[in-house]
């Protein structure tokens, strides 16, 4: 498995999440339904093979570990990502983050307000500092990619 393959496998999944699953989450009739979708998202995303999980890719949350891989296509100035997490719900939430930013240009990524978008999806509580799920760490790692 190479980064190129992972990127190629991840891209259509993120697109599908954006086009289909975001609406499902917004319209979920109860918390059970919302979490079922979140966990499906985690399952849909291709996993990063163990031996590719280098320490520098680790995004440490308090309770679970996550890994982020980044590719900057210099020709088009677009940013692409691959991620994995030990925890399924966290992976689902991170997948939502990624589908919103995948393929953005440097300027778009710098200006992107994830908090605002998460608020629209009723997911803002997950970005709170008090939660040890590592989502805030993932946000700052994604933002670092545009520097």
């Amino acid at each position: 498995m190479t980064l190129e393959q992972l990127l190629a496998d991840t891209k259509p999944v993120l697109l599908d999440i954006q086009q289909r699953n975001l609406a499902e989450i917004e319209q979920a009739r109860d918390w059970q339904a919302k979490y079922r979708v979140l966990m499906q998202l985690g399952k849909k995303l291709p996993a990063i093979p163990e031996k590719m999980k280098q320490p520098e890719l680790l995004v440490k949350g308090c309770e679970s570990r996550a890994w982020l891989m980044h590719y900057h296509d210099k020709a088009t100035d677009k940013h692409y990502f691959v991620l994995d997490s030990e925890a399924r719900i966290v992976k689902g939430l991170m997948a939502i983050m990624l589908c919103l930013v995948n393929g953005m240009t440097t300027t778009e990524l710098c200006q992107f307000d994830l908090c605002h978008k998460f608020d629209q999806l009723n997911l803002k509580p997950y970005l709170s500092q008090s939660r040890g799920n590592g989502l805030t760490a993932m946000v700052s790692r994604i933002k670092q990619c545009c520097k």
Binding site: W31, Q32, Y35, R36, M39, G61, C62, E63, S64, E86, A87, R88, I89, V90, G132, N133
Partner: protein, 405 residues
């Protein structure tokens, strides 16, 4: 004495009236405070607030009396021989840091050994590592048995290496297992070691008797004994406290200062630098006085009934991996849902308003030995009810259902 009435006990916690929808099973992290404690703190700030030990005015004298009464309440609760053996600090972590720092170069010399165990909280590992590395002291670790209890055979073998200090927890903060501390102290003393007990979880389980237990140090936090956060106790025998170099300096702990020679105040003040947490000590004292109105044997019985029901209910839920044994357990159950990450389990419980903790609970060496990425921890207190147990079981069932759907 009348039977333990859990509803009467629970009614004294305003929190449960404010948040009736929550099932609080994170008691090993921190406990709720009864009205008696909240009132004592409020009254101190409203009526007596002053600094202690140094004011020329009557208000300061009143505050000092209350603060020293708190010391006396703690001393008699744990049956310390002397009042000055109770050192107020910010909590068990601060106390362990003071002990580890304070024993270097007095009791511990380069090349000496100390003995810890595999199931310690990081607060009873890392302070020792920090200071031992700098002073060339060697750390040995007692392994666990297959039942995740301290291996007493290995313990005796490691004691034969002649450690100068042995430090272990009264009750495992992850598994809830009660350690045979009396026996461990006896063996350590026979080997000539100074004994330190991390009583962070032990203090609320039973009233420890310092003179009977005969350990050299016992430490605990107030907030795990129905008291406020930011206050804790370092108990030490007089001759052992004399060995401790103060980790903090300044304020009340000083006798006289010059640039040639500074001399320290006597115990307990020598180890209480700066303005102490006066309201915290008064709150802790109020918690102890309040708790003493109840019969601890009945509380233990109540908690073991909760535990029995919980274990019984767990057997009906598929795919639960229980790490804690119900035998000699103080009321803490670590568990996992098979092949699921504990963070997911805890989040789904959180959605159902069941408060538990998940992760490695500041005990990574224990988890490397358990070969699991972590666990969720349900920790019960005297104010928990059978209804709490049942709601947690139902929520776990629903969690398993969602995770395995």
């Amino acid at each position: 004495m009348p039977a333990f009435d859990v509803q009467q006990f629970r009614q004294q916690f305003a929190f449960f009236q404010q948040q009736p929808e929550w099932v609080y099973l994170d008691n090993a992290a921190t406990m709720h405070k009864p009205q008696a404690v909240i009132d004592a703190i409020t009254q101190f700030y409203q009526h007596y607030n002053s600094n202690v030990h140094r004011g020329a005015h009557q208000l300061s004298q009143q505050a000092t009396i209350l603060f020293e009464q708190a010391r006396s309440t703690v001393a008699s609760y744990i049956n310390a021989q002397h009042l000055h053996e109770i050192i107020f600090c910010s909590g068990a972590t601060a106390a362990l840091n003071q002990i580890a720092f304070g024993l270097m170069h007095t009791v511990l010399q380069p090349g000496d050994r100390i003995l810890l165990t595999q199931l310690e909280h990081h607060a009873n590992i890392v302070p020792w590592q920090l200071h031992c590395q700098r002073h060339g002291v060697i750390i040995d670790v007692v392994p666990l048995t297959a039942e995740h209890r301290i291996d007493l055979v290995a313990y005796e073998q490691l004691l034969a290496l002649g450690p100068k200090v042995v430090s272990f927890s009264h009750i495992s903060n992850v598994l809830g297992h009660i350690q045979p501390v009396a026996e461990m102290v006896r063996l350590a003393k026979a080997a000539g070691a100074v004994t330190v007990i991390d009583g962070a979880q032990g203090i609320v389980y039973q009233q420890p008797d310092m003179q009977q237990l005969d350990c050299d140090f016992y430490v605990f936090s107030g907030h795990k004994l129905y008291g406020p956060t930011g206050i804790g106790v370092l108990y030490g025998k007089t001759e052992q406290l004399e060995h401790l170099t103060p980790i903090f300096a300044g304020g009340e702990m000083i006798d006289s200062v010059s640039f040639i020679n500074t001399s320290f105040n006597k115990l307990p003040f020598r180890l209480e630098a700066g303005t102490p947490n006066i309201a915290g000590a008064i709150g802790l004292s109020a918690a102890i006085e309040w708790l003493q109105k109840y019969n601890n044997k009945q509380i233990i019985q109540h908690k073991s009934l909760l535990l029995k029901e919980f274990y019984n209910g767990l057997t009906f839920i598929k795919g639960i991996d229980i790490l804690s044994s119900h035998v000699h357990n103080a009321g803490i159950v670590a568990l996992n849902v098979d092949s699921e990450h504990p963070a997911d389990v805890a989040e789904l419980l959180n959605q159902q308003q069941i408060a538990v903790r998940s992760g490695q609970h500041c005990a990574m060496p224990l988890f490397s030995c358990l070969a699991r990425p972590g666990a969720i921890r349900c920790s019960f207190a005297a104010y928990n009810t059978l209804d709490d147990v049942n709601r947690c079981l139902l929520a776990l069932e629903q969690t398993v259902e969602i995770l395995t759907a």
